[in-house]
Amino acid sequence: MSALAEIEQGIEGLLTQAPYGVDPRQRHDALLALLKQELAYACGRNPRFCNYVEQWPADFRVAEKIADLPYLPVGVFKENPPLALVGDGEVKRTLTSSATTGQSPSRVVLDAATARRMAKGLITIIRDFIGPARRPYLVIDTPENLTAQAEMGARGAAVQGLRSFATEVVSCLRPSPEGDSSIDLEKLLACAAEWKHADVLVYGFTYVIWTYLVEPLRHQGITLGMPNVHVLHSGGWKRLERQAVTRDEFNRGAAAVFGCAAERILDYYGMIENVGVVYPDCAYGNKHAPAFAEIIVRNPLTLAPVRAGEQGLIQVCSVLPTSFPGFLLLTEDLAAVIGGDECPCGRRGISFRFAGRAPKAEARGCGNLETMRYPPLQGTGVA
């Protein structure tokens, strides 16, 4: 059996387990073994990645903990062309992150197998939170994000990822001529009337739901009367934090507009570099890693894993990708570890809470030079 086939078999084994029911020790050992195989495979596929791994302070082959394996900072996926373990011909789709102004987006390449596992991973996780049934799917986004494309943004990927829960899909935003969006109220009210008593899945980016649905409907005093919805949202809080919108306020506002209980509003943490793995809040407000992934929170001062009650940088670990080296990624996000294996929701393993983006470093003094005094002259060089 080839190394890749062996890895794929291992991933399938983890994907078919109950996502949050595995004993943490067993899960750790299974993940560690598989991640080592994946690192060795990736080294064979990409000499530059191999160079990084070989110069890591410790040899991954003898590591006894996932935390000791070499991890990449998530920023390396901003490089173009993207860091890959497959040739161009094998790339089925490229996912791009929603970069903030002035920043380059992250890009990850998916081959068919990784794309399939991504979908399966996502379904496995979401099913654990909303149940397996297929149901009407209301997308708080514009129609162009409903169709799969070769190069897809984070919003499109998230919308697409939940399609397998859908019996039918309706998007309720329309693009405006100014390049902005607005709610298609007529369409939305028709859906609300038709699906009044149905179990409905709603998805949108957090700020999109707030800006284009919750706020306008609240101002107009409209309640949709859909008590059985599950509203999933992701994409971060940065824009809403600027507007001083808290999680509680968001949950209350969205629940009031949909006419459902606030517990039906589910925020999840995820990123395109960590394909197929998302971290929804459990009923106790904590997040958990599924059987095929792990979370390590690292102290920024030492990069050692923090203990329960402490905060640090989030490292996401996943066995799912084989088309790019996204197994072990240090993010620029912060989280607090809540506990080891004792969340009352019953999900096993580490529980954590997202604590926001690491604040941009302060201006770093008189050595903080970002511009050249004399930019290089263009077009005057001698060939």
Binding site: P47, R48, F49, C50, N51, Y52, Q55, P57, A58, L72, P73, G75, V76, E79, L83, P300, L301, T302, L303, A304, G312, L313, L330, E332, L334, A358, P359, K360, A361, E362, A363, R364, G365, C366, G367, N368, L369, E370, T371, M372, R373, Y374
Partner: protein, 416 residues
Amino acid sequence: MSDLIQSMDSPQTIAGAARQLREIARQKAIAPQAVLEVFDQWAAALDDRGGHEAPGMTFLRLWLRRGNLEPVVLRELGANSLNGEWREDGRARLRAFPLGVVGHWPAGNVAIQPILSLTCALLGGNTCLVRVPSRLVSITRQVMDKLQEADRSGGLIERVAMISFDHARMDLHEAMAQAVDGAMIWGGADAVMQVRRLPFPHWARVLVFGPRVSAAIMDAETWGDRTERSSWCRRIARDVWQFDQQACSSPQTLFLERGAGCDPSEFVEDLRQAFQTENRQHPRRQIEPALTSAICLVRASWLLGNAGNRAVFPASPDWTILLGTGEEMPTPTQGRTLSVLVVDDLLKVISKFDGTLQTLGLGIRDVQKEEKLALAAGRHGVDRIVKLGRMHVFSSPWDGTELVRPMVRLVRHVPG
């Protein structure tokens, strides 16, 4: 003992403080000699310390000593300037008078900078209005308490008003700028640009320091010498560690001249040991998560960018050595991250400097070669060329500018 740093929250209180300082500057002249005497006692008082020391305190004690500052005054203000009297200048006479009130906007990253900045203006007989960055309030207060102890007559302490206010309060920055006759501005690009835009009076002299970066060069004879190499590496480590590599004089890149029989990996091994030792002696006590991310990213980008690149670093973000080739200085990461680049020709490296390089640290054995490199560096905008291990020694001139003279007026009297 009164609190020497006042929190201000209205333009009027700042204007009031400046008015008082201006009166003192006009009414009470003080000669450099008298200032030097108090500074010397201040240095001694700082020796009497206990507990943890802020970065740069050892240097501050040396800086304040008369033996250090007297030559600066003599060189900048003239041979007979210590008593503040007239000196002959042909058929005329010259005498240094203070500008008046000098405003200081020090950078937030160098603990002793508010003090260094104000000492320059005090030597010129000025009074000083110093905005202390919030993170430096505590250390500045400790140092100023020692001045209060040393300055028994109070003649110097009354010439200083230290204030703190929220850096985002532009109305307070503006009030401060409008009230001064001179300004000394230190810091990064954004901070400096912001302060420069303030409404200073048209007569105000504005002196700007920063932002700059620094680098080091070593010839093959020096770094290839196994007997002396570890000593050089210790000096480099010291230069990297001071001010957490955030100062304009911190080396970000070390260029090694390629030499037959010299193995850069051996050199990097010695450097690793020096960095480890320095780190044990001066461990980091805190770090911004964003800097940790930047350090992890530069390690990865360096190694992923070229399979021939090498790097040495611990599991923590404590320090990083990136080894490769190339004549261009990589974008600095700071956070004790040193790029070590092997090059064929050091002069070619210098020819690419664009004027942003402040200090060039040297490890050059041959005197004539050093002479040639120093000349080239000066031509390409470098303002300080010093031996490795002495890159942060604050001295006049700094950034190519004198430190005392710009804040005085040289008055010419032609007797009738």
